[in-house]
């Protein structure tokens, strides 16, 4: 082996990275070459210097404790950041929850104002007719203003010429939807004639088994229940149910003029 071949391999020999066969060749060369042997000895000396130096320095006392403390601080910071990250949306959530609670508490009032009137509890025309004679179902009102307050919606009147209102109140027996009831009277040939008129937001009063007819552009359900005739139609955003013991043509005439 030549020097030029051996010298690059000295480092590998020093690091134990040479195969046994190559190591033997290099070691043989070192026995016969003073210059390469000197390089090898320098390398070995350097290695031993590093081996000695490895003993220094000793780690400062308390370094790992300091590090441990820093890690604990970092751990606390991470926990804080973790909590902050998830607690940041909390104020917004709290505000939203507060509004939701307020909304829930005010729901009946809001519902009273804003809910479409058609979403109110429906009432059967037949039942209304049945209850006509049951005074207990009527909560009397002094005048139209008081009635309107009790109802929660404004009253929209139809024309009923010659009829005198003698009683008014709120009908509550079906569901929670208040229905206005006004009783009218007029003088007839054979005595007083009576007409009861229910008024509710459109869609509240429903009629079953009734005949639909067109009266002056109004789609009117006519029916009878016992001795009573009734007519139900919608107008001005309101359902009107008129109940009377008059004949069907007389009722139709009333509806026509309303």
């Amino acid at each position: 082996m030549k020097c030029s071949d051996a010298r690059p391999l000295l480092d590998l020999l020093c690091d134990g990275a040479l195969e046994a066969k190559d190591s033997a060749l290099v070691l043989d060369h070192l026995k016969s070459c003073d210059e390469c042997e000197r390089d090898w000895n320098d390398l070995e000396q350097l290695r031993s210097r590093f081996q000695e130096a490895k003993e220094n320095p000793q780690m400062p006392a308390g370094l790992m404790e300091k590090i441990s403390q820093k890690l604990k601080d970092e751990e606390r910071n991470q926990q804080r950041r973790f909590i902050q990250r998830f607690s940041r949306p909390l104020p917004l959530m709290a505000i939203a929850a507060t509004f939701a609670l307020i909304g829930f508490l005010l729901l009946p009032w809001i519902h009273h104002i804003d809910t479409p009137l058609t979403a109110m509890q429906p009432a059967s025309a037949d039942t209304l007719v049945e209850d006509l004679v049951s005074e207990g179902t009527l909560e009397p009102a002094i005048d139209r203003n008081e009635l309107a307050k009790k109802l929660g919606y404004d009253l929209r009147f139809v024309r009923l010429p010659a009829w005198q209102m003698n009683k008014l109140g709120v009908y509550r027996s079906q569901g929670s939807t208040p229905i206005a009831r006004m009783d009218f009277v007029r003088k007839g040939l054979s005595g007083d004639q009576h007409l009861s008129c229910y008024q509710a937001p459109e869609g509240v009063i429903q009629a079953n088994a009734a005949n639909l007819e067109n009266v002056e552009g109004k789609h009117v359900f006519f029916g009878n229940h016992g001795k009573f005739q009734f007519a139900l139609w919608s107008q001005n955003g309101r359902d009107y149910l008129m109940v009377t013991m008059l004949s069907r043509p007389q009722l139709e005439e009333i509806v026509r003029g309303a």
Partner: protein, 192 residues
């Protein structure tokens, strides 16, 4: 918050055994005990913060060493910036030796470390550019294989071998010159 506590405990179990080796490497790299202590602390903090990226079963010491060398590089760059010297450029890494960097911020502790390590060896190492010094320190102090050094430094194994060869040559030459210089000085002293 048991999760955080367990995570820290697990981290300590993995990394604590390598504390001494990391400190020694930092000490030899920076030639300053206080600086070495600081960078080791920073290394543990960085490693803890990125512990979630550590894959179990991989070489913990190699992972920690890579972080340590990054911290040391950052620390040296900061020194240069703080000293308001010429802008440090990674491209200059090969020509910027430890001696250059140490000259920027020497303090009395350097003298102490020089005495402990051996002034001639430390001086010889200080002549080395970082690219040659790191493989030499990892090989001689940490007994790492070529492959491990290559992985830590992100260079091919052949590059590690050639850099080790060059590093040893520079250090040997430097030590030989020092010896010759010392002998010449002794002879001159005797002749006076």
């Amino acid at each position: 918050m048991k999760f955080f506590h367990n995570r820290r405990k697990e981290f300590e179990q993995f990394t604590w055994p390598h504390g001494h080796d990391l400190f020694r490497l930092a000490y030899w790299r920076l030639a300053n005990a206080q600086d070495a202590e600081d960078v080791v602390q920073e290394t543990y903090l960085r490693a803890f913060r990125s512990f979630h990226t550590f894959r179990l079963g991989t070489n913990v010491k190699g992972w920690m060493t890579r972080i340590l060398l990054n911290v040391i590089n950052d620390s040296l760059k900061k020194r240069v910036r703080d000293a308001d010297l010429l802008a440090f450029d990674d491209g200059d890494d090969l020509i910027m030796s430890v001696a250059d960097q140490s000259a920027i911020a020497r303090d009395p502790l350097v003298q102490l470390s020089e005495e402990e390590i051996g002034p001639d060896l430390l001086e010889a190492l200080q002549q080395l550019p970082t690219a040659l010094l790191h493989p030499l320190l990892l090989r001689e102090l940490e007994d790492m294989s070529y492959a491990q050094i290559a992985e830590i430094l992100g260079v091919p194994t052949g590059t590690v071998m050639s850099r080790l060869f060059r590093a040893r040559k520079v250090v040997k030459d430097r030590l030989t010159k020092n010896v010759k210089g010392t002998i010449k000085q002794e002879v001159a002293d005797e002749m006076q």
